[in-house]
Each structure stands twice: as C-alpha cells, then as structure tokens.
Amino acid sequence: MMPGKVLNVSVAHLSATVLLFSLLVGLSALIGLERQPRQFRTDPPVAAALNQLRLMPSGIGGAPPEIYFALDRPYEASAYDLSQGKRLYSWFGCASCHGDGRGGAGPSLLDGWWSYGPSVVAIAASIRDGRPRGMPAFHNRMTTDQIWQLAGYVKTIGAYSASLAAPSRNDDKHTRPAENRAPAAILFHEDLPAQPRSEQGPPP
Amino acid sequence: MKERAVLDVSKLPLHGLSTASPTWWGTCAFMLIEGSGFALAIAVYFYLMSLAPNWPIDTPPPDLFAGTMLTLLLLASIVPNMLVSRWAKARALAKVRVGLIVMALLQAAPLALRIFEFPAMHVSWDENAYGSIVWTLLGLHTAHVITDLIDTLVLTCLMFTRYGDNTRRYGDVEDNCLYWNFVIVVWLPLYVCIYWVPRL
C-alpha cells in the first residue's frame, strides 16, 4: 500500500509486524483448538456406526470405527462431551466401584495401569460389554453416544498430561486434583512402591 | 480569538515534588485501586468465615513464626525507607544510591520468608475455601512485594547512570518509597486476618 514506507521500515518494525500477525493467528488457533462445536444429537445411523468397535480377539485394545475419525474424535477432544461424560460417571454410579478414579471395589483408573489397554475404544468396550470380575455391561443402560462420552472422560482421569479440554473440578468435596490438572501425574509416581493391582481391591 | 497574556509562568520550576507532581497523584490513585482490591479480599475472607461452621476449616491456625518475622522485617524496613525518601528530597545522590541498594535487599528478604509462609498455612489452596482465600491473600501481597522490588532494582540501576541526578528521578525514588510504605501498611491487616483471626 505504501511501498516507500514498507521499504523504509527497520528490521525491528518488520519483525514486529510479523509478530503481531502471528499473535493474531496464534490467538485464533489457540481458541480454535479449544473449539467446542456442541453436538447434542447423534443421528441414529452415526450412533450405530459408532457402535462398531473393532476389538482385538483378546479384548485388549482395538481400533475405533472409521466414523470416529471422520467425526474428528469428538469424545476425546470436545470439552462439552467430556463434561457430559463426567456427569454420566456420577449418574451411572461408576464411583461406587471406582471411587474418584482411584479405585475401590473396582480397579483404579489413574494408576497408569489399564487392564485392557489405554485406548479409548477399549474403555468404551469395557463400559459397553462389561469385563470379567465384576465390571457390568452398560449397553442396555446407556446409549452409544453416552458410552463414548463416558469413555472419553474416563481416559482424561488417567491422563498423564491434561488435555486443554479436560473437565475441571466439581462443586464437591475435594478428594483429588481435577482432570484438567492431570491427577495421574500428581498422584501416581513410578518411584513409589507398586500398589496392589486393583483386582485385589485397595490396600486395607 | 485574540489572546492577551496575563500570567507569566516562565519562573515556575520544571518539575514539582510530592503533591505538585502528577506522578505522585498517579501513585496515590493506583494505591487507592489496590487498596480497594485488598479491602475486598479481606471482606471476602470475613464473608467466607461467617459461613463456615468453624474457622479455619478443618485445619489448625497457621504457624506464626515466618509471618511474624516477615512482619517485623517489613516494619523495620520503614526506617531506611523513610531515610531514602528524605535523601531523595535533598537530592543526595550518593546516599540515595546506597539507600536503594539497601532497600532492594530489604525488599528481597521478605520473599525468602514468604516461601515458608505458604506451608505454614497447613492447607493447600485447593482443599477448601479457607485455603483458597489465604493463599490468594498471600499471593496478592507477594505480587506487590515483587513488583516493588523490581521497581527498586530498576531505579537503583537508573541512579547509577547519567540520568540519575535529576529531580524527576528523585521524585521517582520518593514515589517508590511511598509505594513500599503502602505495601507494608496493607500487610498489617492481612497479617492480622491470616494469623490472628483464626485464633480468636
């Protein structure tokens, strides 16, 4: 626009312009990362497709259905779905066995040990179909959408580095750091003596 | 419009000190803002206290040692602080230089004690509202101590440059002393709140 002026600007000014521009872009990107398109309704065909979990024969690990990637992995990335998952965790009584995530009658969810692998699809399969030694199946109590929301949330409980979309504390008594502070990283240290594996229940 | 000169201002000084200096008034206005902030924080402290069945919530009152030492240290620093202010008014460059170095040390020392104050609360910020408000009060005050320390350090450097011997700089030193007095004065109600109110 003003060629003379542009040629005249010092290096400092040029870099300043670049910085300003990248700042704006960065700001947009940062918020864009946090973008929360809230999906309230999952079309029944989409839900049906999401239900096609492809598990390893052992039941440990597997791959989510293609549509999960096509949807851009909403259940691990959307803050809204994660917070819905957190509500489901209490509504469906998960705490009665898993406590605040540190386990109880059921295994701990944040000690870094996942009996069936840490992938979200394995967690979803555990919720949907249940597992031996006491984990009930929820497929006739929760919809596919809800199972995925809960699975995504459960994954954040045990995450070692908190995602930006992880939920924060509840309006409740404080028992452990909230998911957005990566409780697993704070509570579980490799150098501590190994705690009894959850199948045996918590230490007396 | 025609102009008629009725007042000759050429004999006026080029910079006034204290109430004749806009900077002084600006410092006062900022102290009023921050004072309002501290007053509100204290009001919130008492509001939360009025709701709680017992105070502090589920913890013993804080240990007195670190906080009391810090209070004494802050109070002791008033004397050199006032001296620096007086020397600045008298434009005694050498004395101001030494005084500022002393003040920088005296402002850094409380930070060392402050490190021990947080564990002395026996509560973490995320445990309950009591923990949240005492950590916030301490944090708020720490931020002011750090701000003034940085200000003092920069001023100290400045006084050793060719810009040092200037009424404006002496005014800045006086304002900085005024601000440090403010940091001390707001600490006193905070100290009472944090350490003695839970013992009532």
């Binding site: 809230r38 839900a47 509504w91 006739n140 109590r141 929760m142 919809t143 309006d171 | -």
Partner: protein, 328 residues
C-alpha cells in the same frame, strides 16, 4: 400520548386478559397483594412522569417575558426545592408501602403441606413430604395443592441456580445449590397456573416450565392418594409390550416407575406420567403422539437436555408411548 395509550392497554390487560402465566392474573394470596401494590406504584409513578412531562413541555414552549431574570431564578429555586421535597415524600411513601407489603407477606401462617422442590437442568422434582415416610411421594413438573391451604415449598437445587416463579400465585424465589430457601403458596381459587424457571440456567432455560394445579381439598386428596400408589399395570396389548421395551431399553436406567424394576433417579419419576398435563417440563401436552415424538427425538425438540436419543423401531416407539400414556 404514547404513555396514555400504554396505560389504556395496561388497563385492558388488567381487566380482560387472563394469561396462563401473568402477574396481572393474580389468584394466589401473595400474588393478589403484590398485584395491588404493583398497580398502585405504577399509578403513582405514571402521575410523576406526567408532571415531569408537563414541566418539560412548558419549559420548552412557554412565552418568554423580555426581562424578569432575577425574579424567575428565585422562583425556580423555590420550585426545585418543592419538587425535591415532593420526590422525598413520594419515595418515602413507596418505601413504607413496600415495607408493609413485605411484612404482610412474610407473616407466618402454619403450613398444611410441605413440598420439597428440587430444581435441576431442566425440570422440577416435587417431593410431597409426610410425617409418615411411606406416605411421601415424588412427582415432576406438576404441583397439586388444595385451594385455600398454605403449602410450604422447601427450595433446593441439585445443580445451577434456578428460580421458582408462578406469577399468578406468588413472587419468585431462587433455588441455589448449597442453600435452602422457602416459599409459601396459597391459591385462593381453583385453577391451573403456569410457572417457569426465572433464573438463567443454561441451554434449556426456556423450556423449564411447571404447572400448579389448585383444586378442592377432596380432589387434591384423591390425586395424592393415587400418586402414592405404584405405577398402573398396563392392560392394553400395546402398552404391555411397551412396558417390556421400557425395561429392556435404556429408559429404566434413568427413570423410576414405582412397582417395577425401573428405579433410575437421573430423570423425572414416571410412575404417573400419564396423569400429567405435559411432558418435558411444559414442552408438549401429553398425548400418545406427543409422547412418541418426545421419546423418538428429545434432542430436536429440546436441544441439549439430558435425555438421550435412544434408537427405537417404530413399533417399539408406539408401544412405549402407549405404556407411558397408561401410567395414570
């Protein structure tokens, strides 16, 4: 002129219109008192406004006498002092009036009925408290009270702040997590009064209505007695099938139907859902069709609410709707 036409309109509304949810359609003890106060204050203020307007117009268009400066300045000073004095009088009067109204409204009359109101996103749960716990019962979104009797509501919230407001019966009161508030209702005439959450509470704040049904004592007793009972056993074939669907599908995990194994507590109690006027907190009047529509796609009718879209076949849907309707 606009304000007079507005006043006219207001008068019209006061006399003629009976909205389902209106401050001016006062049928409760408190609301009647409040309506009188409101109309009185509005009238006083309208007069004040008119006086100011007269002063404004005459200040703008009056004939100016060529010189009378000093005298009129003194007159103006007197006039202003008078006006300020009048202002003080008016606001003192209004303050005292409103103080007495508050006192009259808060005079404690013994409650004959206690109901726990728990607001949640985005519906109302009502628990009718009884000294004998087996006679207590739970319902949702529809409150029945006997006419002329004082019902005491204990207001609680299980999530965010809501506000209980049935304008025809009483002023509003917030429901706040961690606190308990009180509100008393006394309907003077039988009727169906609509209310609505009046504090912004998230996505479906707009669809969080409730109905208060004031009825004669005998009718109320009959209703309460039926509410205490377990859910009706369906007889119609379609409804029988619907019950099976309800128990097999996700429904039972969130809703309770007393007398069956459905005992979820996340959603409203459905034991007598068929006896209510509306579904989904005042969203739709209950018919078999609207029930089916709601179950088929709650997220389109009330986006963001906590009832999930449960995939069902057409038959299952019809059967469920029939079952719901049969729960009277």
């Amino acid at each position: 002129m606009k304000s007079t036409s507005a006043l006219l309109l207001l008068a019209l509304l006061v006399s003629g219109c009976t909205g389902a949810q209106s401050i001016l359609n006062a049928e409760g003890h408190a609301a009647i008192e409040l309506k009188e106060l409101i109309l009185w204050i509005i009238c006083v203020c309208a007069v004040v406004w008119l006086l100011v307007m007269i002063a404004l117009v005459s200040a703008l268009v009056r004939q100016r006498d060529p010189d009378g400066g000093a005298i009129s300045e003194r007159k103006a000073a007197v006039a202003i002092s008078g006006a300020v004095g009048a202002t003080v009088l008016v606001i003192t009067g209004l303050t005292i009036t409103s103080f007495y109204t508050t006192r009259a409204l808060s005079e404690a009359s013994p409650a004959e009925l206690t109901i726990d109101v728990t607001a949640q996103q985005w519906w109302w749960q009502f628990t009718y408290v009884d000294a004998n716990p087996t006679r207590a019962f739970v319902t949702a979104n529809e409150l029945h009270i006997p006419v002329g009797k004082v019902a005491r509501l204990r207001l609680k919230s299980s999530d965010v702040i809501h506000s209980f407001w049935v304008p025809s019966l009483a002023g509003k009161r917030d429901l706040i997590a961690g606190r308990e508030n009180m509100l008393t209702l006394r309907a003077e005439r039988p009727g169906i009064y609509r209310g609505q959450c009046a504090e912004f509470c998230g996505l479906q704040h707009s669809h969080m209505a409730l109905f208060v049904i004031a009825e004669a004592q005998a009718d109320y007793e009959r209703w309460a007695e039926r509410q205490r009972g377990v859910g009706a056993e369906p007889t119609e074939a379609e409804a029988v099938a619907g019950k099976a669907v309800f128990m097999a599908k996700q429904c039972a995990a969130c809703h309770t139907i007393r007398g069956t194994k459905a005992s979820g507590t996340t959603g409203p109690d459905l034991t007598h859902v068929g006896s209510r006027r509306t579904i989904a907190a005042g969203l739709l009047e209950i018919t078999r069709g609207s029930l089916a529509a709601w179950i088929a796609d709650p997220q389109t009718l009330k986006p963001g609410n906590n009832m999930p879209l449960v995939p069902l076949t057409g038959d299952e849907l019809r059967q469920l709707a029939a079952y719901m309707e049969s729960l009277r």
